[in-house]
Symmetry: none
DNA sequence: AATGAATGAGACTTCATTCAT
DNA sequence: AATGAATGAAGTCTCATTCAT
């Protein structure tokens, strides 16, 4: 079934373009990536990109959509394999970090490029991001926390710490994304003040 | 408003240029800010900028230097007013957050623009950043922590959480930078797992 | 006159650009010719030049290549029509001078612009020039000369005299390039001291 | 008398500016030399140059005047030390070549920069050059030549050969300017055809 | 679906020059 | 005589985009 006649040309080279765009966007950001660069990386001429995407912004949005979908799927899958709210949170952190620190360029774009970086696409980008973060609202909402705890702050703190890793984490540095995620969770869960 | 009467030949309009640059850089990033924009904001022609700064990179470095100096001074001053390592850390978080979330555009540039964003200035920017982060190494180093704790991870987690606030915090949202900083510190210090 | 109907999509307007570049470069030199000027002369916008040539230097190199090719071909063809080393030398002088003093702007660029004028292209220009001058080494090498004669000096003297004509020769002044070339050759060959 | 009180400040630093201009102009040409470069080389700011010279063109003309004066003086002095028209011509060639191939930047400017390179100064530059070349008209005019000889061509050929040396001569290459000048003269005087 | 050429705006930077001080 | 700051034009080159083919 899968190895049917027509195989390669399928529905064009749009995926190839997306891959190239994701690769560059997550490394150089929105302003630092030109349509020319993307075209070259995809083995095309700049004009040819416009057969697949009407504007640079559209291309970014398409990458973003896939990025959000992927990281969301990864986190969802990870949390469903666990029981217990803290276990689920830890699994989510592991999935999030492994996704953005390994080779998923699409997901990395979501973390690297901010909706405000592309003024013409802000309105479409923001909801996508929001869609992903809603997931974390649920995860944090499910935690058994002292009444005084501000769950929003906790969530934003954790996501901030996770996302900021892109700026300092380098593979091969000893600590794996998984270990790092677990450390983050533990720090939040148990605190560091020695039991007095 | 632009083009003041040309009195005050003294010490020039370089500070004005720096202010304009800081304002734009912290909002739009390095690639998103053009020399034209900065010149216009300073009430000059683009070429006139080059009386004060030889290149766009030099201008960024000058802003960075002032930014690092300011946020460093703020944190140092705050910590010296406190006793106790956790108190010092909390004071540092408050100072850091108040500086980057209020109107100090210079400090915000340091948090927003990464050395790698400006390839021609990376070599000058990175040490400045490092100079500031060294301060946090000391602060975290002084904490009385369980032996198992990875102080580096703790530091990077906290700084990540603090710096990421620039992406979601908006003044007038109820929580002040000071409150936020205290919450972050408390979350790390005491943990959230209900005493069992 | 600019902006032809846009028919003739074939093989593009690159030759037109080259022609315009050659025309200006041989008259105003490298620094004296701007990309803007060339574009205007070619009926394009400055940015459009870069569809055909990646940099100003590349454009110069392309002109140079054609210039060297043309003058070399002219000299080679002329010498092959003659017998005898002095006849060949004279024919070469005639060809060289007719080429650079008539309307071959490409060849004139080779004589006018020095590799060192365009630092970024020196490495590519110098071998081209050398390629042409090698031809003259052969021509002078074949002359039956008194043993004491420094052939290198003779060659450089002759080429210098020929090339310098660009600075004073103006068509319509009575002497044709052909006549001039013959005079130069005769002066060197027979000397001017009256037979005593 | 000479070692009187006021010594150094004399009539300002104009000579210093001229020296700097000559140095740069003879090396980089007119378009390749900026007013800024000259000012920096003279230890001044660009604006300060305009205390001494109203425009870049004026500066070039001033350098040119001194250049012509120097090379003219050198040639005149040399010819007056000799007897015989061919001896005078040889002495002139030696003086010309030693002046432009050694360190007299002023004279080198005259040979390197053409009146047409500075459109705004062409009208003032051309007569200066002409003034120098008139000298050669006399020298060649005095030669005892066969009636058929075109003295103008002979003169232009010799001057072309001499001036072109700037493009290939490098000190330390074995042949001195003096030797070279003598070779040029001999080639013209005696011819190279072996006595048959 | 893709190309090659072109566009017009705008990028950073340097130019010769001016002028109040 | 000199400075420091500014100007306005122009320098080379890149940008996202368009469009006939």
């Amino acid at each position: 079934m899968a190895a049917a006649p027509r195989l390669a040309h399928a529905d064009s080279r749009a995926p190839l373009v997306l891959d190239a765009a994701a690769r560059l966007l997550c490394r150089r950001g929105y302003e630092g990536t030109s349509v020319r660069d993307i075209a070259r990386a995809a083995g095309m001429l700049p004009g040819s990109l416009y057969c697949h995407f009407a504007t640079k912004d559209d291309l970014l949005v398409a990458v973003y959509e896939r990025g959000v979908e992927r990281i969301r799927d990864a986190v969802l899958a990870a949390t469903q394999r666990c029981d217990g709210p803290w276990q689920k949170l830890e699994a989510a952190c592991v999935a999030h970090l492994e996704t953005i620190l390994r080779d998923d360029d699409y997901a990395r774009v979501v973390v690297r490029v901010f909706p405000s970086d592309a003024p013409g696409a802000t309105a479409r980008l923001a909801p996508l991001r929001e869609h992903y973060e809603a997931l974390w609202r649920d995860l944090v909402g499910a935690l058994p926390l002292p009444a005084r705890t501000d769950r929003r702050t906790l969530r934003l703190m954790l996501l901030g710490a996770l996302n900021w890793t892109q700026h300092w984490y380098h593979a091969g540095g000893g600590t794996s994304p998984r270990t790092l995620a677990r450390q983050f969770t533990a720090l939040l869960r148990q605190g560091q003040e020695p039991a007095s």
